[in-house]
Symmetry: C2
Subunit: 395 residues, 2 copies
């Protein structure tokens, strides 16, 4: 097995994305979901000519300024006027109300005076003014939202305006999370000295949720049952993430389990810090990841290996945005291998800035608090002085 | 009633934020929730000294290089060694495993050789090396997460590691949404010509969700029941947003209803486009907003008046980030009053860029698709040429 670079491993993963099935979802539950097909407009918006202001719809005029029109009616919102307006006639209309056939223009109320049943208009009436034409926002039949659109408030507004109540979306990517470390204990079970509370399961669950997926933490299992546990899990999920498990040179529990179930290893061991002991394998359409049990290394591994897959499965840009930032506090260690430093980045008055977070050991959770970026430091780089430029992935 | 500027209106709102109650939430459901108190670490992390590598814990040594240690045992993960290590003794340990008392350092396996029951170490042993000290990540009693922390994957990992299963959080802001336009029909009810499908309710619901709140769309009600409908709603929610309703110079349905229930008007009519006919009122601790019924004006009004309140109620920065961007396509109209143009902004290779979205009439939903920014154009500004600099609020 040759050792791949980080980018080669990412490309190997993106070449074999699990495919998501589709499901219908009510638009009230559709925020953040991803459309599974192009959607054509079922009708025009607006459906017919409407007034853009409160005022008066006027028919064609032969009069000079001030023009005068005979008031022949008054429409309320929700009316559907059918009686055509004749030359020199006017009707009162409301913003968003349908206009009668024969409307030449709508004059805002504040530009008019009424004199018994005559409407006096004090400025030139331009044909078409203040008329929202049929279909000016969307025309019936046009593709209004494309496949892979992630539904936000604006697209949900559009669906609602079109009277669409459910839409086809891709199912959320389903991720199973397996703890291979025998000393790591999930919540709810009393803990003994020497044991550690599971934090990777809840952390990965939250990360998966943020990226549009759903996660299930598998119950702990003894090693002899692990292969069948993984096979069962792969029936239910698209991706399995294993965390922890002993690693000794050229051997890891995770790799042995992956091989035991017949999965094909895609890569193993990537020269990054933290979390170099990491790998992935494929079984049929399912992907299996082995990430470090050290919380910060697990976090980094999720972001650089798993998150791109979860995003790409949903039609989104796989890779995080990279920017050059000024590192305000620097990083005191030289990088033997490529180093991904947990950081907080922000766009300030003088451009992007990043702060190396405290607690950069792979085991330390402190570095994850407020972490929204990884500083990517090339292998062989010296320490990073405060104020120097660094390349940052925005998470 | 004097007319306030946009900023004056925002300040008036932020001065009287509704207070949120608190509730406990399980950490599995805590993503995005906001802590309602400082949290102190209930124990140290790690709880005791642990090995940072797979290798050998060694006692103090008097030997030279290569040092030799007598192998006296082997600990597995989850063990809690109590037998102290003596001078020149070694035990096998795993990454993350507890160390026996008397451990001087941990030597990685790859730096050692074993010769029957003797461990030979081929480099200088530095006292303390590869030992994770008790509390090196967090010390018992320190404030680990402050009030108003919005819980993300990292803070959830920390809570889980500490064995905390529920945390006190602020209740989500609750927002009631009321449609005052008689021609606007919610989903599920047949629509007649002249009527419009409600899009503001679903749009505002999605926006409120994105900002951490929960929204309830009130059933339509005739005007004569509206005052009592608003009072009922204010029993349940922190904020009411009314959309639409007729507006005629110096009078609006919303304002009449707000006054009828005894609410004190905070501001009315703000010189922005779109959505100048807007206002807010206060009744006891509740806030009422009147936003335009035009979808794009409603969207803008939500972002500049309501969203700051919802964020500030949760202890977050009220105002969106503002950046200077290059407007790639320009905007062809002069701004009589201050104009908030729907746009898409991104950080590109040459800095921030923004594209004016098509469909800038206040009624047009097209401008909301992909909208993630508002270009803020001062009153009296000429048209914006393509390529010029603009001030942008990032939504």
């Amino acid at each position: 097995m040759q050792h791949l670079s980080l980018e080669q491993a990412q490309q190997a993963l993106l070449a074999i994305l699990p495919k998501l099935k589709t499901e219908p979802v009510a638009i009230a539950d559709a925020l953040g979901r991803v459309l599974a097909s192009d959607l054509a407009a079922p009708r025009s918006l607006p459906a017919s000519e409407q007034s853009a202001v409160d005022g008066y719809a006027v028919g064609c005029s032969t009069s000079t300024i001030p023009g005068s029109f005979r008031m022949v009616g008054r429409y309320r919102l929700g009316d559907s006027p059918e009686q055509p307006l004749q030359h020199n006639e006017a009707v009162e209309v409301k913003t968003g109300g349908n206009l009668p056939p024969g409307t030449c223009a709508v004059v805002p109320r504040e530009k008019t005076r009424c004199d018994s049943d005559m409407l006096l208009v004090e400025e030139m009436v331009k044909p078409g003014q203040n008329i929202k034409s049929q279909g000016e926002d969307f025309c019936r039949g046009e593709i209004m939202l494309g496949e892979y659109t992630q539904l936000d408030a604006g697209s949900i507004a559009l669906l609602a305006a079109m009277g669409i109540e459910t839409v086809p979306v891709y199912r959320r990517p389903r991720i199973g999370i397996v703890n291979l470390a025998p000393n790591v204990v999930p919540a709810g079970i009393p803990i003994r000295p020497g044991q550690t509370r599971d934090s990777n399961g809840p952390m990965l669950t939250a990360l998966v949720q943020q990226h549009g997926g759903t996660a299930v933490i598998a119950a702990n299992a003894p090693n002899r049952e692990m292969a069948s546990r993984l096979l069962e899990l792969l029936e239910e999920v698209d991706i399995v993430i294993c965390t922890g498990g002993s690693y000794t040179e050229n051997s890891s529990d995770a790799r042995e389990f992956f091989t035991a179930i017949g999965a094909r290893v895609l890569y193993w061991d990537i020269a990054i810090q933290p979390g170099s002991h990491t790998g992935a394998a494929r079984l049929d359409s399912g992907l299996l990841f082995s990430l470090s049990g050290n919380p910060a290394a697990c976090f980094v591994g999720y972001h650089v290996f798993v998150a791109p897959v979860i995003r790409a499965m949903q039609g989104q840009a796989a890779m995080p945005k990279r920017v050059i930032a000024r590192c305000i506090n620097g990083f005191g260690k030289a990088a033997n291998s490529r180093r991904l430093v947990r950081a907080r980045a922000w766009y300030g008055n003088s451009g992007w800035e990043a702060e190396v977070l405290p607690g950069q050991k792979p085991s330390m959770i402190r570095s994850l608090l407020q972490c929204n970026a990884l500083i990517d430091i090339a292998a062989g780089s010296p320490a990073v002085p405060a104020g120097s430029s660094v390349e940052v992935m925005l998470l």
